[in-house]
């Protein structure tokens, strides 16, 4: 049985900060950081936001666009590397907030930036096997970069939710392929506030190896090449990596333009490919084909071959904000307010 996306929803906080502003504090040329990373600004969550509130807003936007009874949702997974609790799943709160409780299974996922797409794959299996009618897969994060570290210029916040089912799909996911190895390119130990990474080790042996293998693996199994796709979206820790990998795979700039959000919102980690995919679905037409490859450090890639159906013409997309709409009414912060919002200032204790 074919499975796919019945509905989707996205959310990005409205606060932004530029690499220039961050660079000022650390004596770094922020402007050239910005150019080098291809990031103009990154999103910053408000003190009252976290991965759960972002996931809820994305999931509610997803529900607004379709007429599915939340009680028919049989599974819900939230993938993130910034779950508010180390133990107590974000998913149970999201499930309550969209009134899907109590007859469903829930768990939280972690796989660096590809936890959300791993959730999509799980839902595909549950739906495809007939075990559930609908599954919800969410990738959301409010990732932190250590003060002064390179990642501080890109680590941002946002998320997107996908309702996976087998009826009235606006896009079918015809094939998924994953490539996974044990590669320590980027990690965060339990109890630590900030992640660490292997510098240049995060490039060729990590991001590029896994994304390229994931992409090639999918193309082999589907007998397709870059020119068969209308759109492509890759994991985007900055604007440079996905642009380079796209070129290596034969994709053109017009193909990747729509899904390339890093320049506007930074690296939303588990939200990155889900948000990029949302941006594409915001304008995709029936018959379009989408190539998506997510990457998670540690390491692994999830690749998807997605076909947009006729159903999208009837889809009530306007009932929730598009990525373009989420990128309006912005407020730019200085580093001091940013540090306050992100809990980087040592406060007094009671």
């Amino acid at each position: 049985m074919k499975v796919g996306i019945v509905s989707y929803g996205a959310y990005v906080p409205r606060y932004r900060i530029t690499p220039e502003e961050i660079g000022k504090v650390w004596g770094v040329d922020g402007k050239s950081m910005s150019k080098g990373l291809m990031i103009n600004c990154k999103s910053v969550p408000s003190p009252d936001e976290d991965t759960i509130t972002i996931a809820v807003e994305a999931a509610r936007n997803m529900m607004k666009r379709c007429e599915v009874d939340p009680q028919d949702i049989g599974a819900l997974y939230v993938g993130s590397e910034s779950h508010p609790y180390a133990v107590k799943p974000s998913g149970t709160i999201v499930a309550e907030a969209i009134e899907a409780s109590p007859h469903l299974t829930v768990a939280d996922y972690e796989f660096a930036c590809k936890a959300g797409t791993a959730a999509i794959q799980t839902c595909m299996g549950l739906v495809g096997s007939g075990m559930v009618k609908y599954g919800v897969a969410i990738g959301a994060d409010t990732s932190q970069g250590a003060p002064g570290d390179a990642l501080e210029y890109s680590a941002s916040a946002g998320g997107a939710a996908f309702l996976i089912g087998a009826e009235k799909m606006i896009a079918t996911i015809d094939r998924t392929y994953s490539y996974t190895t044990d590669t320590p390119d980027f990690w965060r130990r339990e109890g630590e506030m900030y992640p660490r990474h292997g510098g240049r080790f995060t490039g060729e042996p990590a991001y590029f190896k896994h994304v390229l293998n994931g992409a090639k693996g999918l193309m082999e199994r589907t007998g397709s090449t870059a020119k068969d796709y209308t759109y492509a979206v890759f994991h985007q820790p900055n604007g440079k990596f996905p642009t380079r990998v796209a070129k290596q795979l034969g994709f053109t700039d017009p193909q990747i333009k729509t899904g390339l959000l890093a320049p506007l919102i930074g690296n939303t980690y588990s939200g990155a490919v889900p948000l990029g995919l949302s941006a594409i679905l915001d304008e995709a037409k029936a018959g379009d084909r989408i190539f998506a490859v997510a990457y998670g450090s540690g390491a692994g890639s999830d690749a998807f071959d997605i076909h947009v159906t006729d159903e999208i013409e009837k889809y009530a997309r306007h009932k929730a904000p598009t990525i373009k709409e989420l990128n309006t009414n912005l407020k730019f912060l200085d580093y001091a307010i940013y540090a306050k919002f992100r809990g980087k200032i040592i406060l007094g204790s009671e």
Partner: protein, 138 residues
């Protein structure tokens, strides 16, 4: 002070604006009540739990400068009394906007945010806040 059960019990109303409708007189109330204050015992057995739509207009507002510990990262913050579509009024923060852009009458919709937590190792409490309704792009 640990308050898990007290907050957990109200989650349906805090997450989803679940109130009640008295099917004897048709009035809505938020939060839920055991009996209708207008119909009294005539309302017993006629109380229906109902989720508010989440849309309303600002009835009054204020920018709070001196607030509780849990909101110290966000002060000054806006508190409003919102008149919901169903006729009930709800008190909550209005966020993601500048206080000077808000007026009595500004339309708002509900969203979920963190209300507070019981310290760095304690439970996080989530609940409703309001955002101004964005004008639709032409």
């Amino acid at each position: 002070m640990a308050t898990e059960p007290r907050f957990w019990r109200e989650n349906p109303s805090r997450y989803n604006l679940v109130g009640i409708k008295c099917n004897s007189c048709g009035r809505h109330f938020f939060p839920p009540r055991a009996i209708c204050p207008v119909c009294h015992r005539k309302s017993v057995g006629k109380i229906e739990r109902i989720k508010l739509k989440g849309e309303g207009k600002i009835f009054s507002l204020t920018e709070v400068q001196e607030g509780p510990e849990e909101l110290s990262m966000q002060k000054p913050y806006v508190v409003a009394m919102v008149e919901m579509e169903e006729g009930v009024r709800v008190t909550g923060q209005v966020i993601d906007c500048e206080a000077c852009d808000l007026r009595i009458g500004t339309p708002v919709r509900v969203t979920l945010r963190k209300l507070s937590d019981e310290g760095p190792s304690g439970v996080i409490h989530y609940g409703y806040k309001f955002v101004p309704v964005k004008e639709k792009a032409p």
